[in-house]
Amino acid sequence: MSKNQILAACVLTCTLMMTSTVQAESYLTGFTNKISQGIANIAFGFIEIPKNIINITNDQNIFVGMTWGAVRGVVHGVSRTLVGGAEFLTSPIPTSEFASPAYVWDRFSEDSRYFDLYYPGYWTNYGPLDDGK
C-alpha cells in the first residue's frame, strides 16, 4: 500500500468518526426523501394536468380551465416528471427540495414551482379539493 493510500484511508476514517449519528440519520432521511420524491414525481407528474384544469376552472371558468389549464398542466406535468428524474439521479447529494410542493398531491391549491421558479398564468384562489387548512 502506497503512502498516499494510507493517508487517504486515515482521512476517510477520521471523517467518518467525526460525523455524528444525528448527521448520518439526517443524511439518510434526506436521501430517502429525495428518492421517494423523485420516483413519485416521475410516476405521477401527469396529475399536474387535472390539477391545473380543476384549479383554473374554479378560478376562472370551464373554458379557460379546459384550454389554458390543460396547456399549463402539460407544461407542469413534463416539468415535474423531469424534475423528478433529476431528484432521483441526485438523491445521494443533499440539497433542498427541487419541487414545491414536493409531491403533486400535497397542497393541491398551491401552484407548483421548481427551484423556486413559477410559471405565469397561475390561479389565485383555493381550489375545490383543498381549503389550505
Binding site: 397542497r107 391549491s109 398551491e110 387548512k133
Partner: protein, 232 residues
Amino acid sequence: MKKYHYLPLATLILFLTACATPRIDTEDLKAEIKSARSGHYGQAILHQELSEEDLEVANTILGHLEKNHYWNINEKQKALDAAKSAARHRLESEKEMCLWLTEVHSQNHHKGEAIHDTVAYFKTGSSVPFKTKDESISKVASWLKAHPDATATVTASTDTVGKPAYNQDLSEKRANALVQRLVANGARPNQLTVKAIGEVAGIDNTPHQESRVAIVITSHPNYIDCPNVKLK
C-alpha cells in the same frame, strides 16, 4: 282518462306519499342551543370561541406565509382581518365577562351615601361620654362589618377649658372611647382612623358643648368592575 288509469295513478300517489320524508320539529333544540349562549356569561363564551376560530385562521395563514406555502394565493389581508376580528371578539368577551361580574356581585357595591354624624357628647374634662347615639354607632359598625373594604374616620375635639396639650390628649381619649364602642359593635380596628384635633378654635377657657363631641364619617370606596374596559 280511462278507468284503468285510475288505479295505477292512485297507487303511485300512495307510494309517493308513503315515501315523503318526515319533518322533525327542531324548535326545542334551537331553544336549548340558544339558552346555552344566553346571558352575559354565555355571550362571553361565544365571543371567546369566535376569537379562537379567528386566531386559528390567522395562525394557519401565518404558517403558510412563513413557509412560503400557497404563494399564488394572497392570504395576508384575510389573516389581518381574522386577527383584528379575533381582537374584537376578545374585547367583547371581556366586556360581557365584566357585565356578568357586576351581575353576580353587584350587591357588594356600595350605593349608600357616606354617614357623617355626631355620635358622642362629653362634659368638660371628661373622656367618658354622657350621651351617645347608640343607634348611629350600631348602624355604622354594622355597615363597616358588612363592607370590609370601607373605612371610617373618628374625629374628637375639646372646648378651650384647660391647657392645649391636656386637651389634645383628652381628644385622643374621646376618639378612642368611640373607637372602642364601634369595635364592640362589629367594626374592625383597621377600618378606623383616629383624628384627635384637640381644642376647637374659640375664646379661651370657655366651655362649649358643640366642641366636646366625637364625630364619625364613613368612607365608601368608589368600586367599579373592570375600570379599564369601556363597556359601551
